[in-house]
C-alpha cells in the first residue's frame, strides 16, 4: 500500500531516515512508546526493537491516569471497554484530597469545570462574592463530576455542550502492569520485535557521542540509529552512558520513598482516587475492579521506613494481598530529556511523584512530542532543543502544581508540613498563589497539563480564597446571583440522582473483568 521510499526524491541531506529504533526497557513507558511508534510508523521501513528483562522488575505503581490517556488509546484504535476489562480498570472522575489543608478537610479535584457562565466574570468570582457573604458553601456544589464521584456514580459525558453531563471528562484507574502487557501484545502484533535480555553495556561513536549499540549479557550486540531510554530511574542510556545530569527538585518536592501494597476492597469502588495526607507524606487509594492499590509516599527525613510501613498497614481497608514493596526515588528531571540520539521517556526522564497521576501523562507527552519531532539520523540540534524546550515547560508547570498541594497547608501537627510552608517556594508558584489570593486570577497557558479548573480546585480546596473579586460581578445583585446558584445546585443534584452506579456502569459497558483474564494476562 505504501509508496516505496526510493520513489521519492528527497534532498540529499534529508535522505537518512531512521531505520532502527531501539527501546530500552519494557514497563509502561517502554510499551506505550513501542505501541505508539509502531502504530505511527507502520508502513515505513523503520523497525522497532524493545529490549526488556524479566529479571528486572518494573515499578508499575502508576495506576491512576488522566483523561488524556483516552486520546492516546483512541489514536491507537484500542477499544475502551476491552482495555478496561483486560486491565481491571475502573472509571476515574477525579482525585479526592483528605487532610491536605487542615486535618479534617477534604475536596475532590475533578476532571471538569465548575459552575456555568453567569456574566462577564469567571464563575469563581461570583462564587467568591457569595462566599464572602456566607451564601455559597463549597465549590463542590457546582461541579457535577465531584458530586457524582462522591455518590459512587458514573456515566459517559454527553457530547451536547448544553447538557450538564458535558461538563466533565474521565480517566481510568487500572493495573499498569496489565496495561503494559496489553500494549506489549498490541505492539508486537504491529511488528515490534521484543528481545529478552539484560543490557550490560552500550557503545558510542567517539566522534559524535551518539549511541551505536547496546550489548546484552549473552554477548549479543544490538545496533540502532535511535534509542529510547525507558529503563526507569537508573537511566541506563541517558545517564549511565550519556551522563546527561539530573535537576534535583527534592528541595521543592521532598518525598523520596514509597511503600506500595494492594489490599481487598471493603469500601465502595468509587470512580475516584484518594490521596490522604499523613504526618510525613501521603497515602494513595486506587480502587480497581479486583483490588485496592495502596501506597504511602513519604520523606525519609521525617519518618523511618518501619514507621511509614506501619502507618500504611494500619490504614488499609481490607487484608493485604501481598507483601509491601519499597520504592526509592528522587524528584526531579533529567537535564535534557533528549540528548544525542537518545530520548528518555518515563522514570528515566524524571519523576514528580504520583500525587496528581502525572507519571503516565508525562510518558504520553514525551511520546507525542517525539512523534512530532521525529528525527532523521542526524538528530538535528534544532529538534533536540525544541523537544527539550517543550518538555521542560511540561515538567516545570506540573512541578508548580504539585508543590502547591504541599505548601498551601495549614497543618500544625507535624514538622514536615510546617517546613514545607516555610520553605522558599518557586517564584513562578508564589506569583500564581498571590494572583489568586489577591484577585482570583488563575494561571492559564496553552503548553502545560493543568487547566484553570484544576488550579481552582486545589486553591479553593486548600483554603486559598480570593480576597477580592472581579468588580464586574457587582453588576448583578446578591439575590440574582443567589438565584442562579441555587438553580445550578439543583440541576447538579438532579443530574447526580439520574446517574447510575459506577460498578453497574462498568458491567453494562462490557468493561468488567472476564473469567479469561488470568490466562490472558500471563
Amino acid at each position: 500500500m505504501a509508496v516505496q521510499a526510493k520513489e521519492i526524491k528527497m534532498r540529499p541531506e534529508t535522505r537518512q531516515a531512521i531505520k532502527e529504533i531501539i527501546i530500552v526497557g519494557g514497563g509502561t513507558a517502554g510499551w506505550m512508546t513501542a505501541a505508539a511508534l509502531a502504530h505511527k510508523l507502520s508502513g515505513t521501513d523503520t523497525t522497532i526493537t524493545l529490549i526488556e528483562s524479566e529479571e528486572i522488575g518494573t515499578v508499575g505503581v502508576g495506576e491512576a491516569t488522566l483523561p488524556h490517556i483516552r486520546f492516546f488509546n483512541q489514536t491507537l484504535g484500542i477499544d475502551e471497554a476491552t482495555l478496561m476489562a483486560r486491565t481491571s480498570a475502573t472509571f476515574k472522575l477525579g482525585i479526592e484530597f483528605c487532610d491536605w489543608g487542615k486535618i479534617g478537610d477534604r475536596y475532590i479535584h475533578p476532571f471538569g469545570d465548575y459552575g456555568e457562565s453567569i456574566g462577564p466574570a469567571a464563575f469563581h468570582h461570583y462564587w467568591a462574592r457569595m462566599q464572602a457573604s456566607g451564601d455559597a458553601d463549597s465549590l463542590d456544589d457546582y461541579s457535577y463530576p465531584v458530586r457524582a464521584a462522591e455518590a459512587n456514580r458514573f456515566m459517559l459525558p454527553d457530547p451536547d455542550p448544553r447538557s450538564i453531563f458535558s461538563t466533565f471528562s474521565y480517566a481510568f484507574q487500572f493495573d499498569a502492569s496489565q496495561y503494559a502487557a496489553f500494549l506489549s501484545k498490541f505492539a508486537q502484533q504491529k511488528g515490534v520485535r521484543r528481545i529478552e535480555g539484560k543490557i550490560v553495556n552500550a557503545r558510542s561513536d567517539s566522534l559524535t557521542g551518539n549511541i551505536l549499540s547496546v550489548s546484552l549479557e549473552n554477548g549479543q550486540d544490538i545496533e540502532g540509529d535511535f534509542f529510547v531510554d525507558c529503563s526507569g530511574f537508573r537511566g541506563l542510556l541517558i545517564e549511565q552512558q550519556l551522563q546527561t545530569g539530573y535537576d534535583d527538585w527534592s528541595h521543592y518536592l521532598p518525598c523520596n520513598r514509597a511503600i506500595a501494597v494492594p489490599c481487598e476492597a471493603s469500601d465502595p469502588i468509587g470512580p475516584y482516587t484518594r490521596a490522604t495526607a499523613r504526618t510525613a507524606g501521603w497515602q494513595w487509594r486506587i480502587p480497581l475492579q479486583h483490588r485496592i492499590g495502596n501506597g504511602h509516599v513519604y520523606c525519609s527525613d521525617y519518618i523511618s521506613d518501619d514507621e511509614a510501613a506501619a502507618q500504611l498497614m494500619d490504614n488499609l481497608e481490607g487484608p493485604p494481598l501481598s507483601d509491601p514493596r519499597q520504592l526509592y526515588f528522587k524528584t526531579g528531571k533529567r537535564r535534557q530529556l533528549w540528548n544525542k540520539n537518545c530520548v528518555a521517556i518515563g522514570l528515566s526522564g524524571g519523576f514528580l511523584e504520583p500525587l496528581e497521576s502525572t507519571s503516565i501523562h508525562l510518558i504520553q507527552s514525551g511520546i507525542t512530542y517525539l512523534i512530532e519531532l521525529f528525527p532523521d539520523q542526524k538528530c538535528a540540534p534544532l529538534d533536540v532543543q525544541e523537544y527539550n524546550r517543550v518538555m521542560d515547560l511540561e515538567f516545570d508547570r506540573i512541578r508548580d502544581f504539585l508543590v502547591l498541594h504541599y505548601v498551601a497547608n495549614q497543618r500544625d501537627d507535624a514538622p514536615m508540613w510546617r517546613d514545607l510552608r516555610e520553605m522558599a517556594w518557586p517564584d513562578s508558584l508564589r506569583e500564581k498563589i498571590e494572583a489568586f489570593r489577591g484577585r482570583g486570577i488563575i494561571p492559564q497557558y496553552a503548553h502545560g497539563l493543568f487547566l484553570p479548573a484544576s488550579w481552582l480546585a486545589v486553591f479553593a480546596g486548600q483554603n486559598i480564597v480570593p480576597e477580592r473579586y472581579d468588580p464586574r460581578v457587582d453588576k448583578m445583585t446578591s439575590e440574582e446571583i443567589a438565584a442562579r446558584f441555587s438553580l445550578l445546585r439543583e440541576k447538579i443534584s438532579n443530574a447526580v440522582e439520574n446517574t447510575g452506579s459506577h460498578l453497574d456502569f462498568i458491567q453494562s459497558y462490557g468493561a468488567a473483568v472476564g473469567p479469561d483474564i488470568g490466562t490472558w494476562a500471563s
Binding site: T44, L373, G438, H447, P471
Partner: protein, 509 residues
C-alpha cells in the same frame, strides 16, 4: 464583605479613538455605581493616529463585548467584508499573495495536510513548487481571489467552515460609533480641556487626583492613559519591532462603487509600503516609509491622492514592558505601538481593553492585576509582531532596501518558528496564540519557507490513493466558489438586510 474599596471612580485621559473605545467598553462591563470621567485634551500633540481604514475580525471579542453586529458596522461605519489581504509586490515587482485567515485543513491519518502536499511536491521532484501546489487548497484565499464573498458556515461538511471574514471600517465613523455608545451611558462624564497637574497620594506611588486647567479636580481609584497625557514614556521602552519605517501618510477620497480593491491591499514598493482599502463610499491609502531613504515628496507622489494632513505623521514602534504601574494603566499608544500593518495598533488597543476589563482592580492594591496585564501585553505584542514581521523578512524583492530587511535580526520566538518550519514543516506554537495555526502555516509556505523534509509519517500515505481525493477536494472548492455571490452583490445583500434589521430595531424602540 470583601471588595471593600470597590472601584468607584475611573479617569480616562487622552484624545482620539482610544479614550472612546475604552470608555464604551468599561461602561458596558461595570456596574452603574462606577463613575467614568473622560478627560479629552485635543490640543495635546497626537503623535500617532490610526489610518483612515481599519480591518478587524468579524467575530472580534471587542465588538462582541459592545454587543455590535456586522450589520451595525456596515450601516454606521461603512463596513466592507473581506476574506483576506492581498500582498502585492512582495515576492517581486508583479507578484501577488493573498493572505487569508483559514480554519484548519483536515489531516490524513494524523499527518498534517501541508505535509501530504509537501510529500507530493517532493515526489514530483519539485519541492520549490510547494507554494503553487498548496495554493489550490487555500480555500479562503481562492474565494477572495475569485472576487467572491460569503460568511463562514457551521456545517462541517462545507468548505465554507474555513472562511474567517473580517470587516474594514471607516476609522472616523467607527470613532463616532464609539462616542455614541459611550455618551449614551449615564456613568460617563466628558471634559474637554487641558490637564494642569497630577496629585500623588502621600507615602504611596499612586495617583490621587488630576487637576484640570480650569481648576476642577477629579480623584479616582484608577487612571487610564491612552496617549501619554498622564505619563512620560517609560525609559525602558525598547524598539521591539525592528523595521525602519518612521513616517506615515494617508489619504481618503470619495469613490464610486467597485472602483477600489475588494480586499485590503498591502503593496510593496522600493523603500515603502502602501496599504489600500475600500469602504462603502471611499477609498483609503496609507503609506509608511523610512525618512532616511525616501523624501516626503516622493511618498506623497506614491500616494497619488490628496493627503489627509499635508505633513506626514511620525511612526515609532515600541512596547512598554510595564504599562500598568500602581493605579495608572497605559493602553493604546501609551502602552505600545507597532504601526498600521494589518491594523496592528487597533488589534493591540482592543486586546488591551479586553485585558483591562478582565483584570479590573477590586481595590487600591492592584499589583497582581498589573502584573498579569503587563505579562499579557508583552506576550500579545510579540505574537502580533512575529506574524507581521514574517512577510518582511521573507520578502523576495531585489532592491537593497528589501535585501537588508531579509537580514533583519529576528526575535527569538520568530526564529524558533522559522527554523522549525524550514527544517521539518512543524509550526511551533506558544501560549496565548492570536492567529490560527493554518493561517501561520499558509503564510510560511506562501512566503517561501519550504520545509526541507516532510513528516516521516507522511510516507505511510499512499499517494496513488490520496491524489484523487485531493483532486476531488480542489473540485469541491471550485464548485463552492462558483456558486458563491460576487463580492459586491453579497455586500449589497448584507447592507439591505442590515438596513431592514436596523429599521425593525428602531420600530421596537
Amino acid at each position: 464583605m470583601i471588595n471593600k474599596n470597590s472601584l468607584s471612580h475611573i479617569v480616562i485621559a487622552g484624545n482620539g479613538i482610544g479614550i472612546w473605545a475604552m470608555a464604551a467598553a468599561l461602561a458596558e462591563q461595570l456596574p452603574e455605581h462606577t463613575h467614568i470621567t473622560i478627560i479629552e485634551d485635543s490640543s495635546a500633540p497626537n503623535t500617532h493616529e490610526f489610518p483612515p481604514a481599519i480591518t478587524i475580525d468579524c467575530d472580534s471579542p471587542f465588538h462582541q463585548l459592545l454587543g455590535w453586529s456586522d450589520a451595525q458596522l456596515i450601516m454606521e461605519a461603512g463596513g466592507q467584508l473581506s476574506l483576506g489581504t492581498n500582498f502585492v509586490g512582495w515576492q517581486g515587482e508583479a507578484s501577488h499573495y493573498m493572505s487569508a485567515p483559514s480554519g484548519k485543513l483536515p489531516g490524513i491519518n494524523g499527518v498534517a495536510f501541508h505535509h501530504i502536499v509537501l510529500r507530493a511536491a517532493m515526489a514530483r521532484g519539485e519541492p520549490e513548487k510547494l507554494p503553487e501546489i498548496f495554493a489550490a487548497f487555500r480555500f479562503p484565499a481562492r474565494v477572495a481571489m475569485a472576487g467572491k464573498l460569503a460568511h463562514g458556515s457551521s456545517d462541517p461538511q462545507s468548505p465554507r467552515t474555513l472562511l474567517r471574514p473580517s470587516i474594514t471600517l471607516d476609522t472616523s465613523q467607527y470613532m463616532t460609533m464609539l462616542q455614541h455608545q459611550a455618551r449614551a451611558s449615564s456613568s460617563i462624564s466628558h471634559h474637554q480641556t487641558k490637564i494642569d497637574r497630577l496629585v500623588k497620594d502621600e507615602n504611596a506611588p499612586t495617583i490621587k487626583s488630576v487637576i484640570l486647567e480650569d481648576g476642577q479636580e477629579f480623584a479616582a481609584d484608577l487612571f487610564i492613559d491612552l496617549t501619554g497625557l498622564l505619563s512620560a514614556p517609560s525609559p525602558s521602552e525598547t524598539d521591539d519591532f525592528p523595521l525602519p519605517f518612521d513616517r506615515i501618510i494617508s489619504s481618503q477620497y470619495a469613490s464610486d462603487e467597485e472602483s477600489g480593491p475588494t480586499v485590503p491591499v498591502m503593496r510593496a514598493f522600493d523603500q515603502a509600503i502602501m496599504m489600500e482599502a475600500s469602504l462603502a463610499h471611499s477609498n483609503c491609502k496609507t503609506i509608511i516609509y523610512p525618512s532616511a531613504h525616501l523624501s516626503d515628496d516622493h511618498a506623497r507622489g506614491l500616494l497619488d491622492s490628496q493627503p489627509i494632513s499635508a505633513e506626514p505623521g511620525h511612526l515609532r514602534s515600541f512596547c512598554n514592558p510595564s504599562p500598568w504601574i500602581a493605579n495608572l494603566v497605559r493602553a493604546g499608544q501609551a502602552a505600545g505601538q507597532m504601526g498600521p500593518y494589518l491594523s496592528a495598533d487597533m488589534r493591540l488597543l482592543h486586546q488591551q481593553i479586553i485585558n483591562l476589563c478582565n483584570l479590573l482592580p477590586a481595590s487600591r492594591h492592584m499589583d497582581v492585576e498589573a502584573n498579569e496585564y503587563n505579562r499579557l501585553n508583552i506576550m500579545q505584542f510579540n505574537q502580533l509582531r512575529d506574524f507581521y514581521l514574517l512577510p518582511f523578512v521573507r520578502n523576495g524583492r531585489s532592491e537593497k532596501f528589501w535585501e537588508n530587511l531579509r537580514r533583519t535580526a529576528l526575535p527569538e520566538s520568530l526564529q524558533i518558528r522559522l527554523d522549525q518550519f524550514l527544517s521539518r514543516g512543524r509550526l511551533v506554537t506558544f501560549d496565548d496564540e492570536i492567529f490560527e495555526e493554518q493561517h501561520w502555516i499558509d503564510l510560511m509556505i506562501g512566503f517561501g519557507v519550504i520545509p526541507q523534509r516532510f513528516d516521516p509519517m507522511a510516507q505511510t500515505i499512499d499517494l496513488a490513493q490520496v491524489g484523487p481525493s485531493l483532486g476531488k477536494m480542489v473540485d469541491a472548492f471550485k464548485q463552492t466558489i462558483d456558486a458563491m455571490p460576487v463580492h459586491q452583490i453579497y455586500m449589497d445583500q448584507l447592507a439591505a438586510a442590515a438596513s431592514r434589521q436596523m429599521q425593525t430595531g428602531n420600530q421596537k424602540l
